[in-house]
Symmetry: C2
Subunit: 308 residues, 2 copies
Amino acid sequence: MDEFGLIDTFVSQFDVAPPPRGPGDDCAVLPKQGPSCVTTDALVEGVHFTRGTFSMPDVGHKALAVNLSDLAAMGARPAWFTVALGLPGWATARDVKKLGGGMARLAKLHRVELIGGNVTRADQLSLTLTLSGALEGPPLLRSGAKPGDALYLSGPVGDAALGLSLLGTNSGASSPLVDAQRRPVPHVAFGRFARRHCSAGIDVSDGLAQDLGHLCRASGVAAELDSAALPMSEALLDAAGSRKAAQPYALRGGEDYVLLVAVRDPPAFERALTRAGFEAWRIGTLRKGSGVNLDGVRLTGRLGFTHR
Amino acid sequence: MDEFGLIDTFVSQFDVAPPPRGPGDDCAVLPKQGPSCVTTDALVEGVHFTRGTFSMPDVGHKALAVNLSDLAAMGARPAWFTVALGLPGWATARDVKKLGGGMARLAKLHRVELIGGNVTRADQLSLTLTLSGALEGPPLLRSGAKPGDALYLSGPVGDAALGLSLLGTNSGASSPLVDAQRRPVPHVAFGRFARRHCSAGIDVSDGLAQDLGHLCRASGVAAELDSAALPMSEALLDAAGSRKAAQPYALRGGEDYVLLVAVRDPPAFERALTRAGFEAWRIGTLRKGSGVNLDGVRLTGRLGFTHR
C-alpha cells in the first residue's frame, strides 16, 4: 500500500472534517482561536515501547495520552492534533489501522480533532504528535508556586514504572500495573479544575522527584516531601512487597501522567475538590530555597526516569 | 549530555520567547490567533537524507524549508513551529548545535518562532516539525480551480531530483542542482501573493505530474501541460544534456518546492506579477474531465517521486 493509502487507512477511523479543515490539502485550516497551548511529544519503538510488549492499539493510545497529559498540566481543553508516523517495512495496513484505532478511541473521549499528519518510511515505528488545547483563562504554569504552598498529586505514582519491569518478565500478563504502563490515563478534567484552583502544576512524566525539581526551579522554591503521604496503589504495594520497596518506583519511576500541583489555600482547595468530585493527595509543602527533600533529606543524583 | 542539555544547545540558537510562550513549560502558550494553517512534515536519515551527502546545517535547513513550503502553498504567513528530534547515539552536542544553526538561519529569515519541541533517542536522525501560519484572507486551496484556468509554476522544476542523483555519485560537489536538493528555498512570499491572485495552488514536493494530479482531483478538472513550456534551469539542461533528457526530472522528479497555481485571468495575473516583482511560468491549462495530459497524451503509471 502506498503512502496515500496508508494515510486513508489511518485517518478513516477518526471523525475528521473535510479539507481544508481536516487532512487533504497542503495544510489544515483553522478558524480564529482564543489563547491556546501547544505541545509535541514522540513515541519511538525500542525506546518507549516494544512490539513484543505493546499492541498497536496500546501504542496509538499512549502516543496521544502522553500529549494530552501535557495539555492537562496547563489546564487546557484539548482541541486539535497532528500525527507524523514513521513506518518500518514490517508495518502492514492492518498495523496502521490498529494504531489509528487505539488513538481514535482516546481522541473521541476527549473530543480532540485530528487535523493533519504525515507518513514516512523509517527503521523504527514512531509517532510524533503535536496537540493544541484551548485556554479558558490563565494557564497553570510550573512557575506560579510560592513558599508556603502545599503540594498535591492527582493520582498514585509508581504503577507504570513497576508495570514496565513486569513487561520485561511476562509480556502477556495484563494487570493494573501493566495497564498503567501501556494505557496511561491523562488527567485532563483534573487539569482544567486545577487551572482555576492551583498556583502551579506539572505532569509527572519523568518521575515525581525530577518533575517536582522542574517545578521548584521554575518557581524558585524548595520542596519538602513526606514519604508516608505518597499515594501508592494496592497493586504497587502488593507487587513491590512493602511500602519501602515501592518508594523508588513512586519517587523516581516516571510515566505516571498524574498531575502535581501547588496549592495556596489547602482547605479551600479541598472543599473545591469535593464539590467537583475529584481526588488529590497532599504530599508535602514548598518553602524558600531550592531542591527537593524527602523527610528532610535532600534528594540528589539522578532524580528520575529518562528514555535517553 | 542529557536530554535537557541537548534541548538547551538546540534552542539557544533561536530567538525564543521565555516560557510559557517559548520552550520550558509543559506546553507553549499562545495568545489568541486569527484564522491559521497547520502542517507537519518529517525528515528521516536514510530516507530523506544521508549523513554522507548532507551536512547537519543542510538537514536543519531542509526540515524547516519543506514545512514552510506547505504554508506557502496555502498563502499563509509563517508564525510558529515545534521541533521533535530523534537523536541516534552518534549525534554529539556539536551535531545538535549545527542542526539548530541551519534551521535558525531560515527561521530568522521568515520570522517564524520556535515555541517548543521534544528530544528522544532513536536509531535514525529524524526531525519532525509542525508549523503554523497566519491567514490574511481565504487560503489558497487545491480545490479552487475551474476548467479554463491557466497553470503557472513559480520556479523551475527538476533541479533537486537531478541534484539527488549527483549526490549519489559525487557527494562533495556543490552546484546549483545539489544546492536545490540540499537547501530548497520555499516560495513563501510568492504564496502570499498567489493567495490573492490565484484560484488554486499546491507545492510541488512529490513531482509536478503527481502534485498536479492532486490539484486536478481536488478541483474535479483535467490538465493539459505543454512540455515546451516547462521551466528548466540552465544547470539542469546542461547536466541532462538535452531538454528531452531533462524532462523526466522536471515532470516526475520531486522536491522542487516551487508552487503550482491555477489562474482564472492570465493577463491580470501577469500584470500583478510584474507589479509585485515575481516571476511565474505558464505551463498549461485546465479543462473539464480528469487526469493529467502532456502534449495531449495522458500521463499514466507512477507519476511522481515518493520516499516510501
